[in-house]
């Protein structure tokens, strides 16, 4: 079913919306969540909560991209779930993602301004647009879709260590760009 038709189902308060969403996006959402939480039960809960949130959000919202809309919800729910779980010392995929992303945090020697979250998103979007398509996709597949390095390497026909150093260079590039702009987080 087309996204537009699914969104119409939400707007007409038709509960088939959830089923159609699950059929089309269930596995994708689950994989995004699982890549953060490394736990099927918690991921399933986040995905179910995502449907609930989507149901409450549409209407009034009419997202342009259902992938991005649903994906954001499940990412937010999953990272929050991870924080709760971390308090209970469960280890999982988000730790890796966050550790890697921490490398993008600029050093504080040239601070002009502390950037707002929204600006930072725009900034990262702009930075992504300066990359080659392959690098851009690679970055988002790793840090938005949360795909494990090993699987990405398999898909790109390379080794995890080679891909790992490529990811490292991308993170360094983001960091350098943030520093050059005098941005602090």
């Amino acid at each position: 079913m087309e996204d537009r038709e699914i969104i119409n189902l939400y707007w007409s308060r038709n509960e088939a919306a959830i089923g159609q969403t699950h059929t089309k996006y269930g596995r994708l959402l689950h994989s995004i969540s699982y890549n953060i939480l490394s736990n099927h039960e918690d991921s399933q809960e986040c995905v179910n909560d995502t449907y609930q949130k989507a149901w409450n959000a549409m209407p009034p919202q009419r997202p342009d991209s259902l992938t991005a809309f649903l994906g954001r919800i499940v990412r937010n729910l999953s990272i929050n779930c991870w924080h709760k779980a971390r308090a209970q010392k469960r280890s999982n995929g988000a730790k890796e993602l966050l550790l890697e992303l921490a490398e993008c945090v600029p050093d504080k020697n040239n601070v002009e301004k502390v950037i707002e979250a929204r600006e930072l998103s725009e900034f990262i979007s702009d930075w992504l647009c300066t990359l080659s398509q392959e690098n851009r996709v690679l970055f988002l597949r790793r840090y938005w879709y949360g795909v494990p390095l090993k699987r990405l390497a398999h898909e790109y026909g390379t080794t995890p260590s080679k891909l790992g150093s490529r990811m490292y260079r991308l993170r360094q590039d983001l960091k350098a760009t943030l520093e050059k702009e005098g941005v602090s987080i």
């Binding site: 079913m1 269930g26 596995r27 991209s65 993008c104 996709v137």
Partner: protein
């Protein structure tokens, strides 16, 4: 926590970047997996209209007229704008879709009831052939046919048939759904030209995309030409022998050719030989394709489990597995029962384990008697009213359908579209084992739910 801030900022990057990364997910740089499973199915229906009393005297020079069909323009698989535009410009009424579904269950339950062999039937093909005949019928014959098709009037039938045709037609690098109709007309009888109504021929082209051919049914070549036409429309998968009868003045042929690929490929290395248990207690060896979805939808109703596999052009192949001790024919015993297994049952989600035998077979049906028992009476009688087609007295002399279906694995090198396996999911509220190792029912539905094919596989080893 700064890395969390970056994480959140990445979450909110622009939509188009997220979409781009998703689409590109499906593209692999190297053809790591080159084995695909594809489905091909096709059907041809031949409907002869016999002539009882040769008409006399005419001065209309229309005989011999030949109209060629311009098929809808093909567009690429990823061209979703065109797809959407076509759908919006050619709205197909929900009631019309429901009529086709009811028609499918009514005819399907009757036609598939003959047990003992594999059967593949195309309701859509029969619907189009009967629809084309209906558009040329008048009076009681028209009323009876319209009633049988479940359509209120002739305007609805022609307009909706046209819109449905345009919506369903697919011809791209991934798959095809080509519905073709043709009318074959006798050019003269007893030395006198036969007149067909110009309006009929025109609307046949406009609404049913039917090409017109002026022929001589007394000649054997006409049968060959018709067989060749069928062969061309079905990519060579069907090559029937057609015998012509000098008494015929008009034959309507409909073909449906369908080809598509699974969204989630089967890994050929997981295909393995295993036992298929026939209804009579015998065992056959068959090659089974295997795949497991950690989270997918399925339905369970009285006596059956139903689950579907998505095809790339938004259609779906549905499999209905009868419970142990239940025969497929119990589940096809009536129109209502057939509707129940295709649409009813409780919808559940969970792990779905697939084990599907590869199969490849053809069916031939003579449908006149079945249609007669279902209520088409007037159109088969010598006093049928087809004055919309010709002023000669004409009636439907036979209706035949020939179909073929194959589920197979084919190689596609470096395809632009692959699907990666996502991480497995948990077990929400059930689990289905679609282990199709005994006779089962299947159906192929188009994106709007119309049934293109339905069938019973009794023995995958049989052609």
């Amino acid at each position: 926590m700064k890395e969390k801030k970056i994480f959140d900022a990445v979450t909110d990057v622009r939509d188009e970047l997220i979409e781009e990364a998703k689409i590109t997910m499906y593209k692999k740089k190297k053809p790591m997996w080159v084995i695909w499973v594809a489905i091909a199915a096709c059907a041809a229906i031949v409907m002869g209209i016999g002539l009882l009393i040769p008409g006399t005297g005419n001065n209309n020079p229309n005989s011999g007229m030949l109209l060629e069909v311009m098929y809808p323009k093909a567009y690429a698989f990823e061209d979703s704008d065109t797809k959407r535009a076509i759908r919006e410009q050619n709205p197909v009424d929900e009631n019309f879709i429901n009529s086709i579904k009811e028609f499918s269950y009514k005819t399907g339950s009757a036609i598939l009831s003959d047990n003992g062999k594999n059967k593949n039937y195309s309701p859509l093909s029969l619907f189009y052939a009967l629809g084309l005949a209906t558009s040329g019928a008048k009076g009681d014959t028209q009323a009876e046919l319209l009633d049988f098709l479940g359509v209120p009037d002739i305007e609805t039938l022609t307009l909706q048939s046209r819109n449905l045709y345009r919506t369903l037609y697919r011809d791209n690098e991934i798959g095809k759904l080509k519905i073709a109709n043709s009318i074959w007309m006798e050019n003269e009888l007893n030395g006198k030209p036969i007149v067909f109504k110009e309006d009929f021929v025109k609307q046949a082209v406009e609404n049913f995309y039917a090409s017109s051919h002026s022929v001589d049914f007394a000649k054997e070549e006409t049968g060959k030409a018709m067989a060749k036409w069928i062969q061309n429309q079905t990519n060579g998968t069907l090559s029937p022998t057609i015998e012509v009868d000098p008494e015929q003045i008009l034959t309507i042929i409909n073909t449906v050719y369908f080809y598509d690929q699974w969204v989630d490929r089967f890994d050929k290395q997981k295909t393995a030989q295993s036992i298929f248990y026939l209804a009579n207690g015998d065992k056959e060896k068959a090659d089974f394709m295997n795949q497991t979805f950690s989270s997918a939808g399925f339905s369970r109703g009285e006596g059956f489990t139903r689950a579907g596999l998505q095809l790339k052009n938004a259609s779906q192949m549905i499999f209905i597995l009868p419970d142990a001790g239940v025969s497929p024919y119990d589940l096809l015993s009536s129109s209502e029962q057939m509707k129940e297994i295709f649409e009813g049952g409780e919808r559940l989600n969970g792990e779905v384990v697939w084990k599907i035998p590869k199969f490849n077979f053809g069916s031939e049906f003579s449908l006149k008697d079945t249609l007669g028992s279902l209520g088409i009476v007037s159109a088969f009688r010598p006093d049928a009213d087809f004055t919309g087609i010709t002023d000669h007295t004409a009636f439907i002399s036979n209706v035949r359908q020939e179909t073929h279906i194959a589920i197979d694995e084919i190689g596609v090198e470096a395809s632009a579209f692959t699907r990666i396996e996502y991480a497995g999911a948990a077990l929400p509220n059930g689990r289905a084992d679609m282990i199709l190792n005994s006779p089962f029912i299947y159906g192929i539905t188009a994106q709007n739910g119309t049934l293109l094919f339905v069938g019973v596989c009794e023995n995958p080893a049989e052609n």
